[in-house]
Amino acid sequence: MEQEHHTTTPARVNRRTFLQLSSLIGVGAASGLLWGCAPAVAPGGAPAVTVTESAAPSGPVGELILVQGVDAESLDPYVTTSGASRGMMWAMYDKLVTRAPNMEIIPWLALSWTVIDDSTWELKLRDEVYFHNGEKFSAAHVRDSIARFKDPEVKNIYAGQLAKVLEVEVVDDLTARIKTDGPFALLIEVLAVYCEMLPQAITSGEVDPAVQPIGSGPYKFVEWTPGDRMVMEAIDRPHFSGQPKLQRLIWRPIAEATTRVVELKTGGAHIITNVDPVQAAEVEADPQTRLATFRNLSSQIVVLNQLKVEPFQDVRVRQALNYATDVDTLIATIMQGNAFRLAGPFGPGIPGYDPELQPYPYDPEKAKQLLAEAGYADGFDLVLTSPNGRYLNDRLVSEAIAGMWSEIGVRTTVQVMDWSPFVEGVLGKTHDAFFFLQIGVPLDASVRINFHGGVQGAAWQGYSNDEASEIIDKAVTVLDEAERNALYKRLGQIVYEECPWVFLWNAAGLVGVREEVKDWEPHQDGVLHLLGVRLEV
């Protein structure tokens, strides 16, 4: 009896809490745009963010409370995987390169990176950087950190990202050469997301980072109670980034979106992630809080399974469904304006983004005509599968789309599934069509599993185009950034023309911020980057 009581509203809970979980799929690696691998990048040449030696006029002040939907899974930066934990880790650890809010890659521990030959990158490192235990950062730390990143014992599920790195040669204290297995164009992209630099106290196995994190970042670890709070405090010396500007950081996980908003309004939190759009107006209306919006990198789409649904093998049918979907109305009504329309597969912030592409207009007549030309004037039956609560309004949007498609004769019914069977259907390629989120950076991984007819990867549903496959294979070996981006742009055009997906939108990320928080803006990758943020007391 009591069980009945406590499970009265599972769907509702799942929807809310699932939304807060960082996705295992697609957006896990989300970030970025520019490929900082031009032969050499000038130190500090980044326009958007100042990485200067100048510290704040006074010392660090205040206690900033950041509330996200989920907690870190571990204190070990190579074990924890959620997007929420990245912000926590990056406050304590430094990476070799990082990203500005617009996703541009900027120097961090590495001041510059140069291609020496097809299989060697040379990194010049920042001097006078110290770990929290006093160790001075040097090229040996790059070597040992990468070795630990790839160590099977560590159980790093992203170890494969650096699979092409063969070895790291320590040229001198501040010069490291990374040897790769053939041209590895994505190295800097990968280093902008993965492989935080660790002191030798950790890489030697002496200290377990899951118990005692030691980084070189502007904040050092104080304590962590999983599911409750992680506390960090300012380091004693100034960090090269001009931080820390805050005395203490407190990170709390709160799964329930309403509770997060109440904490924000009552001063129990300064920054909260994943504001439910239903409460966006409430956050905006409160004089003490404001709403920061960013455009997510990942693309919300409907994937059409050509292996299972024969009509989808005809490009005209796939185009017809793009014409038959009134995306603007969906955004205006169900999404309440909290989404940015996509034309093709890639939105801004992704290397292959093409601002010239125009979205398929809503034109049911044209859609019917295309269906008729393809020999399906009488339409066909279809099941559209949607997860329940994984993505914002997933079920509602799927039901609306089913209605729109049924109007042109594609008689669509919606099947709602829990997340795990849903994923198994994607991997097993058993859904007719499904509402999904894909695309992130480094871009290679997501286009390879979606569009490569030879690889036939996890998310691939029968789409095949020789030119697309060739581009995907070639791009990872092209070290010249402009040339590589041109290739991805061409890939985006092909996919746009051939419509293996119905293109919908990039969702808006909504972050609630209290007014006393200054100099903070959201990053497109959704990670809480703290560079520059301060509290007005």
Binding site: E2, L24, I157, A159
Partner: protein
């Protein structure tokens, strides 16, 4: 009596063993039947080799019976495995979170006893009156109301509108009030209804009539005779409720960000984290058995006719 007691304990421990064994098999099968944990663990863009590597790393490439046997052998030595997601011993994680959950459950139990029983007695002594009717409606609402919705409403009213209570976390005793109320509303409703109906029934028994006939004041009839007999079913249900409060706080803990076992359970289920889910279920199962044991002991106090040696 001493001998009967020790026999009883031996039987209880055996009972415990079989219950936990059954629970472990059930949990093992249910989670395995519901899907492949590796596919949720590995990123979608992981290579097939990586997927197989992860599978082997966690021993998930073995036949189910082998996996279960390994689990059982380790479990008998107190090792419930490492959480897939957190790379930490699962049992340790559960034990770390257990005190917070027990604290909340005991607080809710106290609320249930303090509010539920008097409410039931009050209604039961004036059956079919207007007051009884009001209590009936209230308790019915308490039983029917979804705890998720109630939790949110309490937060919006007490934390957001009036700002008199904190909305999340477990830093002070004041943090316990809203989740405690949310969690206990159902049991309060249940217990008061149970006490009411049992009391009404008891009051019609012969011994109550006898007590009245011999001129005992109504208060004594009620408290010395009727209520004591009403308590037997009540204690049983309270015991079950405590188990429910321990195991069923998943929803409440997630609404109020209460860092307890329920939160851990949710994480485990969402991530298909087999060792973690198993550890939570086994610990809660163990708690249930211990509570039942305690209920049995309380019975003998309430009713000397009940013997443990049968």
């Amino acid at each position: 009596m001493r001998c009967a007691m020790s026999d009883y304990l031996v039987r209880r421990v055996q009972h415990l063993f079989w219950v936990l064994l059954a629970v472990s098999i059930l949990v093992f099968l249910l989670i395995h039947l519901s899907g492949d944990p590796v596919r949720l663990l590995a990123p979608l863009d992981a290579t097939p080799e990586d997927v197989e590597r992860i599978r082997a790393l966690y021993g998930l490439d073995q036949p189910l019976i082998v996996q279960y046997w390994r689990f059982l052998l380790n479990a008998l030595q107190g090792d419930l495995g490492e959480s897939f997601r957190y790379n930490q011993p699962a049992l340790g994680m559960v034990l770390q979170k257990l005190p917070a959950t027990i604290r909340l459950a005991l607080f809710s139990l106290a609320l249930t006893i303090v509010l539920g029983i008097p409410l039931g007695v009050w209604a039961g002594t004036r059956p079919n009156s207007a007051g009884d009717w009001v209590v009936s409606v209230l308790t019915f609402v308490g039983i029917s109301i979804p705890s998720f919705w109630l939790g949110i409403m309490l937060i919006l009213i007490f934390a957001d509108r009036w700002r008199v209570l904190p909305s999340s976390g477990d830093a002070t005793w004041r943090h316990m009030i809203l989740p405690g109320i949310t969690l206990s509303v159902y049991s309060i409703g249940l217990i008061s209804r149970l006490v009411r109906s049992t009391l009404i029934e008891t009051m019609q028994q012969d011994y109550v009539r006898t007590a009245r006939a011999k001129g005992l004041p109504e208060r004594l009839v009620l408290y010395r005779h009727a209520l004591r007999n009403t308590m037997i079913p009540t204690v049983t249900v309270l015991g079950l409720q405590l188990g429910g409060l321990l195991g069923g706080s998943v929803v409440v803990e997630s609404v109020f960000a209460w860092p307890g076992v329920g939160w851990l359970m949710l994480q485990g289920i969402q991530n298909r984290d087999l060792p973690l889910v198993r550890a939570v279920v086994l610990v809660i199962g163990l708690a249930f058995v211990i509570i039942n044991f305690a209920v049995d002991l309380i019975y003998t106090r309430l009713d000397p006719r009940i013997r443990l040696d049968k």
